[in-house]
């Protein structure tokens, strides 16, 4: 009897085999898929639950709040309106009335004080740590700490650059989220054409810069009497802070109770560096010598570099009308021994009023305007410098590639030191006026005498009690 399979048998076997293999191949993954599907469905259920819960919360949140600020108004309040509209879509039960405060920055704080006295302060306000009004507001119990709300919300504070979050902290609490923010007087805005003509290669705009001796040499080199100035310095608190830090010193001690310009050798070195340029070599413009000053003089080709900050670079570049006269760039100060970029970061704050009718709604709004979209809009449409978050930079760089230069100094920057007694404006005025007097090339006074006068006057203010 033959053992050979018939064709029919062969085909039948092959079919069975194929079917089995196919069945086997389909079975296991299907089971897995099914498992996965089940898991995903579970996830979906969980997600939906969460979403549903959040939606329920958003719907439940009902409040009527006021938002009072002068910020964002330069562009016909579009940023403010846009933010309010976007918030309304997320929280339809929360009504926010925007109460714009006409006028500038300095007038705003007086108005806030008057509103406090009248019992009419808005729920969301902006006291600025970078301008010394913040601590006074905390001491007067005007503001509400946001720690608890942030903890419940599990807010990731690393969304903002650490330096800006540090400045929101005081007395163990966190009092707001960053509104505007920049590196302070952290760079020298420069006319690259002058350096090219002189055959000098400038460092990268976002890397630690040359030594202060080199910067001093450049200031002398580019000065031509009656024609151009090489360097313009800022005789004010943040300007002095950065110069003294470039030498490894500072203006105030860490707790802001003492001025250390005489006690700290490095700070003294920084002041002497300025004095030599301004009074001995007379290469620094004084007062109204240079008009317009800063960006105006730079783009007119009358100034090679001036002490300012990141936003000044952007604004100066916008002001250029003739690229054969000026090409705007910047370079930074030498880095600190611990690797920090030398700057004096300044920022504002979105705060919530103590005693607000709805802390949760107010907090949600603060998060909303300090969030990524809010920060991008604040920069691009609100006319403000709000370089407070890394995730806002791609959009800002898309609008202007210069913004890429500011990331590293902000990510690795230094906070300002402020007077412990919150007498910020008195401190600023005294420091600025006495420094102008010390650096007066037309009526020179001995360095030690002028510096002693400055230190005595400022210390007198620091010794006053907290208001």
């Amino acid at each position: 009897m033959s053992k050979l399979m018939t064709r029919r048998q062969l085909l039948r076997s092959a079919g069975l085999l194929a079917g089995s293999v196919g069945l086997l191949a389909a079975c296991q993954p299907k089971v897995v898929k099914e498992t996965v599907i089940v898991e995903k469905e579970v996830e979906k259920v969980v997600k939906e639950t969460v979403v549903v819960e959040k939606e329920a919360q958003a719907t439940e949140l009902k409040a009527k709040l006021g938002w009072g600020t002068f910020r964002g108004q330069e562009t016909s309040w579009k940023w403010n309106e846009e933010r309010l509209q976007a918030f309304k879509e997320k929280f339809p039960g929360v009504e926010i009335e925007f109460r714009p405060m006409p006028g500038g920055q300095q007038e705003a704080y007086g108005k806030y004080m008057a509103l406090v006295a009248a019992g009419d302060l808005d729920d969301i306000v902006s006291f600025d740590p970078g301008l010394y009004h913040f601590r006074r507001a905390v001491e007067a119990e005007i503001l509400m700490p946001l720690d608890d709300l942030m903890a419940v919300d599990n807010l990731d504070l690393t969304e903002w650059f650490d330096v800006f979050i540090q400045m929101q902290r005081y007395k163990g609490h966190i009092w707001g989220l960053p509104s505007w923010g920049w590196g302070g007087y952290d760079c020298l805005v420069a006319n690259a054409l002058h350096f090219k003509e002189a055959g000098i290669e400038l460092p990268a705009p976002d890397a630690p810069g040359p030594s202060m001796d080199t910067i001093g040499e450049w200031a002398r080199k580019f000065y031509q009497e009656g024609e151009t100035y090489g360097l313009q310095l800022a005789y004010m608190d943040h300007g002095l802070e950065v110069i003294t830090r470039s030498f490894g010193g500072d203006v105030l001690n860490e707790d802001g109770s003492k001025i250390i310009l005489l006690d700290d050798d490095k700070s003294l070195q920084g002041m002497k560096w300025m004095y030599e340029l301004a009074v001995e070599d007379k290469v620094i413009p004084q007062g109204e010598d240079l008009k317009p000053a800063g960006a105006g003089a730079l783009v007119a080709g009358k100034l090679t570099m001036y002490q300012c900050g990141s936003l000044c670079t952007v604004n100066a570049a916008k002001a250029v009308t003739d690229k054969t006269i000026c090409e705007v760039t910047q370079f930074l100060y030498p880095a600190q021994p611990d690797g920090h970029y030398t700057n004096a970061v300044r920022c504002g704050s979105w705060n919530v009023k103590q005693g607000t009718s709805s802390p949760e709604a107010a907090y949600e709004f603060v998060k909303h305007i300090a969030g990524r979209e809010g920060t991008i809009g604040f920069n691009l449409f609100g006319g403000q410098g709000a370089l407070t978050r890394a995730d806002a930079f791609p959009a800002l760089e898309g609008a202007n590639p210069m913004y890429a230069w500011f990331k590293k100094p902000l990510a690795n920057g230094m906070v300002i030191r402020e007077p412990a007694n919150s007498r910020g404006q008195e401190y600023t005025d005294a420091l600025s006026q006495y420094t102008t007097k010390l650096m007066d090339k037309y009526n020179p006074i001995p360095f030690e005498q002028g510096l002693q006068e400055l230190v005595d006057a400022v210390q007198k203010i620091l010794d006053k009690p907290m208001e």
């Binding site: 007062g287 109204e288 006026q433 007066d440 037309y442």
Partner: protein
Amino acid sequence: MTTMTGRTTAKTDPATGKRVHSRIQRRNNLYGFIFISPWLIGFIGLWLGPAIAALYFSFTNYNVLNSPKWIGLGNYVEMFTRDDLFWTSIQRTLYYAGVSVPLGVLGSMILAILLNASLRGVTVFRTLFFMPSLVPVVAAAILWVWLLNTDWGILNQALRHLGWKHPPSWFGNRKWAIPSLIMMNLWGSVGGTRMIIFLAGLQGIPEELYDAAAIDGAGRWQRTLHVTLPLLTPTIFFNLVLGIIGALQAFDAAFLTVEGGPGFATWFFGLHIWKHAFQYFNVGYGAALAWFFALVIILITVLQQRLSEKWVFYYGGR
């Protein structure tokens, strides 16, 4: 009793000896108060009330955020003993007033005498000289900062052309900052309201006095010296009083141009008050400074009034 003029006068009650007003008179008085009430409400609400409140605050420690805390004469003691800028600001203000006022009054008077002549087109000149006083102080400040720019300002360019190789840095040099503000002030004030007041004073001098002097052989200069000036003394006195009060309150020009700088060179007393009250929020201390200065101005005005008896001549008696 009704007088010849038809006005009612008060009667005296024989029993009490007190004046008794009739119903008509009381009604008339009421109408009088009603008509002046808009001004009265403004005066009390916007001047007297705040002045009294400021007087109270001057004896307190008050920063707007907290309630005023009574400290008695603490602010006044601080002013005289611990505030370094108190005497600096007084010195700056007296320097500014001491130079700008006499120059301004003299300039206005000379200009008015010149423009009092009956010449063709004199109205055009009066208008041209008056126009700077119409420029708002903000615009004037911006204009003068540019005019006095060290390198490119018109004034320094002209001075270089005349041979002054290194003309001053007007607003940048502490020595020249106040003279710059004085220049700015004189540009606006010499041909302004002061000149108009002098013109009115000159027009009030009787022509017959000039005729009489001319008949007696007085020349032009003698007529000016012995007729015009003596009869203009009341106007000079008036402008001097107002000029000193205005100059002592100097604030806006210094604030707009150099904000009290450079190096406190233009830190006037008005600015010192404003800084403390509205920027540093030391409202109590700012109020004390304000009241102190108000009293100083009142004293100076009273002194001027007393001294005027020696040199001001009123035609027809006081």
